[in-house]
Amino acid sequence: MTTRRQKRLYTGLSLILGLAVTVGLILYALSENIDLFYTPSEIIYGKKETGVKPSVGQRLRIGGMVVEGSVRRDPESLKVEFELQDTGPKVIVRYDGILPDLFREGQGIVANGYLREGNVIEAFEVLAKHDEEYMPPDLAEAMKGIKHVKPSENQELGYK
């Protein structure tokens, strides 16, 4: 017969083992998968809080406004290049693929990608938000006082 004490021991041991495995797994997986969020000025001047600048080759997440008139497309492929800005300097984002529906010049977007030489970000994912008035809180904080053009006022869309 298993005594009550033994049973508790097993229970306790398996709990501790499970927790240890869990924590181990989490730390292992997290070590490679945390992306820091930067605004364009933070990429150039370093993080507000810590002053740390991202290093070239680092994977990161960037949020900012697409600068008006900066979107340039490759005539042969889906490669696209645009500038992002918050309150200060601009950085360039390169992307190869389909931009999301809510992507517009003058709108806030978030991109995931790698930092390359010369403040260029090579994005593998570009996100715009579901709601045209929604902005990520981080971005909203950084963007206070910048003009926000609604797509309805943008004549280039071509919808009747």
Partner: protein
């Protein structure tokens, strides 16, 4: 006038909820029969009042009453009537009203079906649910009143519903999800009432089991629908994003899954009692946390719709009160709960215990991954994001022990067993697993270790589930709960197969393409034939037509780009040719200069299996609820109510409600 009636009913219902939380509880504790007897009438009155409120808001939407701010913000006279009605829960205020209405529905359900329980116990349960209702009603009334008027100036037309929500999936997804979220409040209320009453025997487990199962079924249906909707509506072909808002619905689901398994042990064997109570508290607490995360807007999420931080503070305080209160009560009372049941190391109890440990581990991972960015930011280390790769990596390792334990579990006896007894049975699954794995490897080019392992283990699981069904139904007819369990497990196998294959074998190609040109993906030739302009009721659109063929299989697809002028929003409607073995998926990007369009063409093998898995799990939970022993509960009720003079009407009512609930379930099946 009607909006005022609605608002007024909300207010009265708030007062009733306060009475419901106080008097029956005092009555049950101090043995005051009159107070205990108040419980059920208050519950029914509450349900009626909230139904009136809900009806009033729906009426305002249906009749385009733009003098109501909420209607003006979320509807438009061009909107088709069914979207006008579903717009009721299209934004914050209305979805909270739906939340409280569903809570009152579950409460009324508990009051109705618990006639054979002790009146005092029922009173405690209902009082706890009343307490939950107070918080949410206060939230609706004081911070997010859907009946607010725009007077004196009101708009001629509304701002229109968010175009993303104008879709059949979004008509049904939120109510299902909320039925699940709120349904866990029943298990929570039963657990807390049992703690307060000090009666933690198998009775409470038996009573909360069907409720928990139905809440779990609804939540599964809601999440499955949400995933399916994201797949065809967001236009990027993904079905799960590990987005914080998705995680918020996934966490209660994991806790609920652990709970239904642990409840089974508590009911049948009297073990794990205090653990089950803790899980019941956690499942609902996580639902509340999910509501908080989604509604407060503190999360950086693609799903986050504009929201207000002061509302977040309110829910946070309420969250702390409910969870903190329940956990304090648990800490105070749990030592009185003693599980006397004994079992050996190799027994079904232990396997189910491992199931619970694994599920809780998964829960902790998701919780950490969701909340860590938030904590990281609040303590001043800057914003971070934890993306899908993290969760993918963890879950690809996690499922291995889980599926192993899951396939062995049903063969092992309660209390004690020998591994040698079941060893040969387990071998049954190996042959089909190897055949399927080889087929996948050779025909679908699935060559990564984890996805092959996923297919192998899932096939093994499915084979064992079917083998177990055949051998055990040979001797005597199986109860419906057994079929339900097997279906649920088969659903999990289908889910794993779908994920493992889709993850690796999906091919997509984004190209710049003009009408007349074509692109080839995985033997499928996509011919871009033409683009047409189209005028919808409240949008204008481009339709892009494609002829797709791989030689033997030819069909045409239509992908759509819609422009909603009220929201000045552009939406993608993907063109999908669905099949059990593969989906062909085309989504239209933006129009480039000249006639060229950006287009993504996808071939997605087995992606349907993911939702098939969800569907099987829902069917499984329905079968469990329809089991004879729960119908016996209804029969007791009929016997008990047959004694008073008014027996005829009561029995008729029962029959009506039974028919009604059957049709509801039928409708659910049909919809799925």
């Amino acid at each position: 006038m009607l909006p005022e009636i609605g608002h007024f009913s909300l207010l009265i219902s708030f007062v009733f909820a306060i009475c419901l939380a106080i008097f029956p509880m005092i009555g049950a504790q101090k043995k005051i029969v009159e107070f205990v007897a108040l419980a059920k009438p208050l519950v029914y009155a509450n349900f009626a009042l909230l139904s009136v409120a809900f009806f009033c808001l729906s009426w305002a939407f249906y009749h385009n009453d733009f003098s109501v701010t909420y209607v003006a913000m979320n509807s438009n006279s061009d909107l088709p009537w069914y979207y006008r009605l579903s717009a009721v829960w299209g934004a914050h205020e209305g979805s909270l009203l739906l939340w409280v209405w569903i809570l009152s529905l579950w409460t009324a359900g508990v009051a109705f079906f618990s006639a054979s329980l002790d009146d005092e116990d029922v009173a405690r349960v209902l009082a706890v649910m009343g307490f939950i209702a107070i918080g949410f009603l206060a939230f609706v009334i004081f911070t997010s009143n859907p009946f607010e008027r725009t007077f004196p100036l009101y708009p001629i037309d509304g701002r229109d519903l968010n175009p993303l929500l104008q879709d059949i999936g979004l008509i049904i997804h939120p109510p299902m999800l909320y039925m699940g979220y709120v349904g866990f409040s029943v298990a929570f209320a039963f657990a807390v009432a049992a703690l307060i009453g000090g009666k933690l025997d198998a009775t409470w487990a038996r009573w909360s089991r069907p409720w928990t199962l139905s809440a779990w079924g609804f939540l599964t249906a809601g999440i499955t629908l949400g995933s399916w909707w994201a797949y065809y509506e967001l236009g990027w072909g993904g079905w799960w994003f590990w987005d914080p808002v998705e995680n918020a619905s996934f966490m209660p689901w994991i806790a609920g899954t652990a709970l239904i398994h642990s409840l089974a042990v508590t009911e049948k064997r009297g073990a794990f009692k205090s653990w089950t109570v803790l899980l019941a508290i956690s499942a609902f607490s996580l639902s509340l946390l999910g509501t908080f995360l989604v509604r407060s807007g503190i999360l950086v999420s693609v799903h986050a719709f504009a929201s207000d931080p002061t509302r977040g503070l309110f829910i946070l305080i309420y969250l702390l009160a409910v969870i903190g209160g329940a956990l304090t009560l648990y800490a105070w009372r749990a030592d009185k709960v003693v599980s006397t049941h004994r079992y050996k190391l190799f027994s079904r109890e232990v396997l189910l215990f491992i199931n619970n440990v694994l599920l809780v581990a998964a829960l902790i991972v998701v919780l950490l991954g969701t909340l860590l960015p938030l904590v990281h930011k609040e303590i001043g280390l800057g914003s971070i994001s934890i993306g899908a790769p993290f969760f993918d990596k963890v879950s690809s390792i996690w499922f291995i022990p889980f599926i192993l334990v899951l396939s062995i579990g049903p063969f092992v006896r309660w209390k004690q067993d020998r591994f040698s007894r079941i060893r040969n049975k387990l071998l049954v699954g190996i042959v089909p697993a190897i055949i399927v794995a080889l087929t996948c490897y050779l025909t679908l080019q699935i060559n990564t270790f984890f996805s092959l392992l996923g297919v192998v283990l899932a096939t093994w699981l499915a084979a064992l589930v079917i083998y177990e069904l055949i051998t055990s139904s040979k001797n005597n007819p199986l109860p419906l709960t057994h079929w339900g369990m097997s279906l649920g497990h088969l659903g999990f196998a289908a889910l794993v197969i779908g994920i493992a294959i889709t993850k690796v074998a999906s091919v997509d190609k984004s190209v710049r393409i003009s009408p007349g040109q074509s692109v080839t993906v995985e033997n499928y030739v996509f011919n871009f034939t033409k683009v047409e302009q189209f005028q919808g009721p409240n949008y204008s659109a481009y339709h892009a037509h494609f002829d797709v063929s791989n030689g033997s299989d030819t069909f045409s697809l239509k992908a759509e780009k819609r422009y909603y002028k009220m929201h000045s929003n552009v939406m993608t409607e993907a063109g999908i040719n669905a099949g059990l073995w593969r989906d062909i998926y085309i989504s239209l990007g933006e129009q480039l200069d000249g006639k060229a369009w950006a287009v993504t063409a996808n071939v997605k093998p087995f992606v349907r299996w993911i939702w098939l898995g969800g569907l099987l799990m829902v069917l499984g939970s329905i079968m469990c609820i329809l089991d004879k022993r729960y119908r016996k509960v209804l029969a007791w009720r009929e016997q008990k109510t047959a004694q008073p003079a008014a027996s005829n009407t009561m029995a008729a009512e029962n029959a009506v409600s039974k028919v009604a609930s059957d049709t509801v379930i039928e409708q659910r099946i049909k919809f799925e």
